[in-house]
């Protein structure tokens, strides 16, 4: 149990001359609910893409439960469930087909897939929409079905990029409930977000990234040091604009 669920060692990615992620070291302990936060364009998605095999890093390693994502990709991906941000789903499939597809792709047998698909759809409140094509789903339902597809093979680690983006409060609560019970049963979750309030309430650990560099990491209480997380975050990242008023924007 010593090996962390996810360890990033010096991950680096350059786009042209621009450093998107610079020598990122991060350790996500087993059984933690890890919030990965940063302003837009900080390198969250780039880092998580390199950790999940979607983007080849220029340098460094990503290790999942002791397995190197870039040396031993198939084994590493087997114990990881991923919800990538801003990607389409195979949305001509119905919800039930999509989750079944995810399960079969992972090499599971048909009856287990059917059983778990049924459970996931029930827990996520998608039973009625199970037979509808995913292209007809709302944003919240789409995130939920993507989450179901990421969880059907019972991974040890869930990597979720912006799982709460454009999700209504009711769906968000359902997703949180599912993630909480997953963590309580020993699973590890890393979510990226820029909603500090949510991270503070939901997560046990947090890492703050800005301009491709890790500014702070640890348990939520350590990082916020008595302040609320949002104040601490703004303090670390810095404020933009000068609190100036727009003279013409008055009624």
């Amino acid at each position: 149990m010593d090996t962390p669920a996810l360890r990033l060692e010096g991950l680096t990615k350059r786009y042209g001359g621009q450093l998107a992620v610079a020598d990122l070291h991060l350790e996500v302990p087993r059984g933690s609910f890890y919030g990965f936060v940063g302003p837009n364009g900080a390198g969250k998605t780039t880092s998580l893409s390199m950790a999940t095999g979607l983007l080849r890093p220029d340098g460094g390693r990503a290790v999942v439960g002791g397995l190197d994502v870039w040396q031993d990709p198939i084994a590493a991906k087997q114990i990881m469930g991923v919800l990538a941000d801003g990607v389409l789903l195979f949305d001509k499939l119905t919800g039930e087909q999509l989750v079944t597809y995810a399960g079969l792709l992972r090499g599971m047998d048909r009856s287990t897939v059917a059983e778990r698909t049924e459970d996931l759809l029930r827990v996520l409140g998608l039973e009625e929409a199970a037979g509808k094509p995913v292209s007809d789903y709302s944003a919240g339902m789409t995130k939920k079905i993507a989450l179901a597809s990421a969880m059907v093979h019972a991974p040890e680690l869930l990597v979720l990029d912006e799982p709460f983006e454009a999700v209504d409060p009711v769906s968000a609560r359902t997703i949180r409930g599912l993630l909480d019970s997953f963590v309580a049963s020993g699973g590890t979750v890393i979510v990226s977000s820029h909603v500090m309030d949510l991270v503070q309430r939901m997560c046990s650990h947090v890492g703050i990234i800005a301009e491709g560099q890790l500014l702070a990491a640890g348990t939520v209480d350590e990082v916020r040091g008595g302040q609320d997380l949002e104040s601490r975050f703004v303090e670390l990242v810095g404020v933009e604009g000068g609190g100036e008023e727009l003279s013409w924007l008055r009624l």
């Binding site: 983007l55 789903l89 001509k92 039930e96 079944t100 079969l104 792709l105 037979g131």
Partner: protein, 526 residues
């Protein structure tokens, strides 16, 4: 406001050129080809306008080229461009652009295109063609801008109408069926007309006369009517042109109103019963089986997949007619290899079609073999029987056992080689395709050059791999020896299976090695 829209279009075009060399290359290719054709005609037009040519010949030249130009302006938005992707009226929904300005701006900005440049060259030739008669020359000169605007408006009317009313899958199917019906209907009409006259030369004046009163060629026939002093005819033709413009304007207006002022809610689709997971319950419960089931579902549900196959039934119908009416058999016999060729390339852009949904394969750690095998299996499930039917039935009807063996051999060889080559190229040579939900006929901006080169490359490889069959086919044509036919079939099957196996293995290797790069490339097209 119209000026703003024109500037917007120019800016979008410039950005597009700046984005990739392929865009410049593709546009340049089209421009060179089009201008080359137009210049050839320009030379002919200048020569024919020297006053020594018979009036009828000048008129025919004028009308036939005009009709061809008009058809191009109609067909290109329907089949090639799928609408002006740069200036999709839907993008203006949230801006309160006054209706009048929007219509004017879109019409004018639609005129900034490669097609316009080529059309202007032809219209200049039209002026040169009529330079021997002062009145006709003046009319040709005056009608130049009128015709350009007419063409642009008709094209704009078609794109806007398609975008407004024929966006859905069902209406596209209806359109395809209508197109097929028109093709079927046109063949007997053309044949009847041709039979009514002794020679084509005799029929031509009548055809030209009829065309010159239709929107197709009323405009280009205007100078002729003036040269003849037929003012009534000139007025009638001007009426037809103006009527076309008015009709186009009304269509554009109605379509734009329906797009920008009454955005439609997404249509509801059927809900499947619980546990009804379609192909997923039929395939082997293996990763490659899952991939196959998913692909089969997409072949049925995603119009982009079937879109490439629309040409097959159209061609089949034309071939049947050709053989029934004129007794031309070769088209019927060519059907098998042709169907095999089209189907074999059915999966050449498979990963590009997945778009970013391909992330699921990446993060699930799908092995290259499973991915390649699943996609090939899904295609072969229906491509094999289809190819056998398309190759076997015409051959059995038109020839003996030898013909059947050769036809089936050539077709199966073509299909297996095609699928094998596609299995490699779809992992290695990616090119932009219409995105999920787009029209199957939409050409993504900046794709022309790249996809052209990629497709030509794979076709060359394929032809190279088909050489043994082609040689044996020629031998059989000359000698009619049974051994040639039998060897052809055996070689086609044996080599086909080898190429297929090699393609899947090779494709899988490329896939495994370049998985993240493939994904990032597909993502960059989205």
């Amino acid at each position: 406001m119209a000026a703003t829209l024109i500037r917007l279009k120019l800016r979008l075009m410039a950005n597009d050129f700046g984005r990739s060399l392929w865009t410049i290359f593709g546009t340049a290719l089209v421009l060179i080809y089009g201008l080359g054709m137009a210049t050839i005609f320009l030379v002919i037009q200048i020569r024919m306008g020297d006053g020594n040519e018979s009036f009828q010949n000048v008129l025919s030249m004028s009308v036939l080229l005009g009709a061809a130009a008009f058809l191009f302006w109609i067909l290109i938005p329907v089949f090639v461009a799928g609408g002006d992707a740069l200036m999709d009226p839907r993008r203006f929904v949230t801006f309160a652009v006054p209706r009048r300005s929007l219509i004017l701006g879109l019409i004018l900005s639609a005129m900034i295109s490669v097609g316009s440049v080529i059309t202007v060259v032809w219209l200049i030739g039209q002026v040169m063609l009529w330079r021997w008669d002062l009145g006709a020359l003046a009319v040709a000169l005056l009608s130049l801008p009128l015709l350009l605007i007419t063409y642009s408006m008709v094209a704009q009317a078609i794109t806007t109408a398609m975008s407004a009313w024929f966006g859905g899958r069902r209406s596209r199917d209806v359109l395809a069926l209508l197109g097929m019906a028109a093709a079927v209907g046109a063949a007997p009409i053309v044949i009847t007309v041709m039979n009514a006259f002794e020679t084509f030369g005799e029929a031509l004046p009548v055809i030209v006369e009829v065309l010159s009163f239709t929107p197709l060629a009323a405009g280009p026939a205007l100078p002729a009517a003036v040269a003849e002093g037929d003012l009534l005819g000139a007025a009638a033709r001007l009426g037809v042109v103006l009527g076309t413009v008015l009709l186009a304007l009304l269509v554009i207006r109605a379509a734009l109103v329906s797009i920008t002022e009454r955005p439609a809610a997404a249509s509801r689709s059927r809900t499947a019963r619980r546990g009804a997971i379609g192909f997923f319950s039929l395939v082997p419960a293996k990763p490659w089986g899952a991939v196959a089931a998913r692909c089969l579902t997409y072949w049925l549900k995603d119009p982009r997949y079937g879109g490439s196959l629309i040409i097959v039934p159209v061609l089949a119908v034309v071939a049947v007619f050709m053989s029934a009416q004129v007794g031309t058999v070769w088209m019927l016999l060519a059907l098998g290899p042709f169907v095999a060729w089209v189907l074999g390339f059915g999966i050449a852009a498979d990963i590009s079609y997945d778009s970013t949904a391909f992330a699921q394969h990446v993060t699930a750690g799908v092995r290259g073999t499973d991915d390649r095998l699943g996609r090939a299996a899904a295609l072969l499930v229906f491509a094999l029987p289809l190819t056998l039917l398309a190759a076997g039935i015409p051959a059995a009807l038109e020839g003996g056992a030898g013909t059947v063996v050769v036809s089936v051999g050539l077709s199966l060889g073509m299909l297996l080689v095609g699928v094998g080559v596609s299995s490699v190229t779809s992992a290695r040579l990616l090119y932009p395709v219409p995105q999920p939900g787009d029209s199957p006929f939409a050409t993504p901006q900046g794709s022309a050059g790249r996809s052209l080169v990629m497709q030509s490359a794979s076709w060359l490889i394929m032809i190279g791999l088909m050489i043994p069959e082609l040689v044996l086919w020629i031998v059989w044509l000359i000698t009619s020896e049974t051994w040639a036919a039998a060897t052809l079939l055996l070689i086609a099957l044996g080599k086909g299976l080898l190429v297929l196996g090699w393609g899947i293995r090779m494709g899988a290797r490329v896939y495994d090695r370049r998985l993240p790069e493939i994904y990032q490339q597909v993502r960059s097209y989205a």
